[in-house]
């Protein structure tokens, strides 16, 4: 029990990631699949951010001269995750653009329906 409570932030991230992962595997609707992928990526974002957090830490701003030294959270994971957010948004955009094309070509965005259609054509 202690290990759950001590690391509750990581458990939360794992939970988010696994919800996303489940969606990717279980959903046949392509848009839902892509949304699940985004949830999975969000789990990773939160995971990174929480690794940089220190108890009682403030933002990494410059401390005024003469003031007591401040404890601050590690800013690097935040910076990294800004990049990862951009990557995630781009992935989303590309995925949705392709799904729009799929809808135009097949008239459906359900993976199973598409498989059945292709199967009937003898692929």
């Amino acid at each position: 029990m202690q290990i759950v409570l001590d690391y509750y932030n990581y458990w939360a991230c794992i939970l988010i990631m696994m919800i996303g992962f489940y969606g990717i595997m279980a959903k046949s609707n392509l848009v839902k699949k892509v949304i699940s992928l985004a949830i999975f990526q969000t789990g990773i974002l939160v995971f990174y951010i929480s690794t940089g957090k220190i108890d009682g830490g403030t933002g990494p701003v410059r401390v005024a001269e003469g003031a007591a030294e401040a404890v601050y959270s590690n800013p690097l994971p935040h910076a990294l995750m800004l990049t990862a957010i951009v990557v995630g948004v781009s992935t989303m955009a590309v995925a949705l653009a392709i799904i729009v094309n799929i809808r135009q070509a097949y008239g459906t965005i359900d993976e199973l329906d598409i498989e059945t259609m292709e199967h009937e054509r003898g692929e």
């Binding site: 781009s90 992935t91 392709i98």
Partner: protein, 507 residues
Amino acid sequence: MELIRHNLPALIVVTPLVMGLLTSIIGRRGLGWWMAMGTTAAGLAMSVQLLVDVLSQGDRTLEYLMGNWPVPFGIGYSVDPLNATVLLIVSLLSAVITLYARKSVASEVPAGKLNFFYALWLFCITGLLGITITGDAFNLYVLLEISSLSTYTLVALGKDRNRRALTSAVNYLVLGSIGACFYLVGVAYLYMATGSLNIADIAERLQPIYASWGTDEPVYQKTVITGFAFMAVGLSLKLALFPLHGWLPNAYTYAPSSVSALLASTATKVGAYAFIRVIFTLVGVGFAFGRLHTDVALMVCSGAAILVGSWLAIRQTNVKKLLAYSSIAQIGYIALGFALANRDGITASVIHLFNHALTKGGMFLALGIVMYRVGGTRLSDLRGLGRKLPITMGAFTAGGLGLIGVPLTSGFISKWYLVSACLERGRYELAGVVLVGSVLALVYVWRVVETIYFGKREDEVTVREAPASMLVPTLILVGASIYFGVDSSFTTHIAGEAADFLLKVKP
């Protein structure tokens, strides 16, 4: 000149990035191809120069600091014999395939989208070169996504010929993103343990952590193991190592011909390189293979890849898909080489990176010509083409011999080193797997060759030999793959340098 030479490691990545942006804006009509061609040719010149430079260094490494920020605070690019070789592979293949692409792409992609096609083409090459040259674990992730995102779109552009390109692209996108995300999680774990993102710096900071594991107070043991596990799975997805190869066959089959050739000859090779880099430089072979025995898992996966990939290749009726399954088997050979972790094994792995890129690239280009002239790549489309497209089909057959590993082709050299590496480690069963793989390759290549030369064509259509702009690049690649089979001194020399470099840094 000195300024350019000093900044080569940055320029080799930045040039295609900037040119890609320009191409998307002004590269309409024919101009896009010219810009891509110029950029990839310049990239080839730069990577040759880098290889020469790095081999002339005493310690065989070149360090480059982005914006002169010292590592580990800034991003450092580091060149050594291994990634200089992979850079050469990527830029050589991308230049030759770009030379080929002009007519092939114009026939498969709508004219209004050509500027975007070549922009994505250059972004993909940017990412691949960047993954290879970067010395920063997070930077590697970003570049991995740059190349992957452009690849998904390039695959999807095959939609006008076959709409399955779209579903293949989405499938590849989902799996590829999961792979990249797993790698990213792995980086997070290693960052938690070491507080660094620079690959060389992480490797150094891991040493005291490893040293503490034998004692009463092991630090970060689970963190590092979990991190490596995530990275290994993520990169295996990217390099399509069996059983994580599911995205590959359809993506290769339905992409435009030139894109298939580019992907088959560079993308998975770069994935393999990244995996080698993580195992040998980042976490160290003593940890990955000595402590965790990842090598056993890799040997099982690559052995299965060789057998299953070749077996499935035999059963395909679409020749493009056949080559895709054959690629899965060939990736098995590459992974088997570095899993053996001795000098011959790594040499075999690096030689095969090079040889397979040439051979498979050449074969996909030959198939692209069939697509261009006949309009399909099913076995029935190739029937009796031996007489109508003698040069193209000759090139295809010569490439096929290379896949089997017939003596005097480059495939023989790689397999020779691989088998001797297996024997040196006393893994006779793996040597057997390699030989069985070659026999299976003989079967699937023979099926195609038989159709090409002995199949009767019912529709007596007139098929002319391909235009020179497509034929010459095909012949360059196939010719090179035969040349390096006859005179292998260049490939064995640079692969040997790479193997020596990797084994020297063993912790």
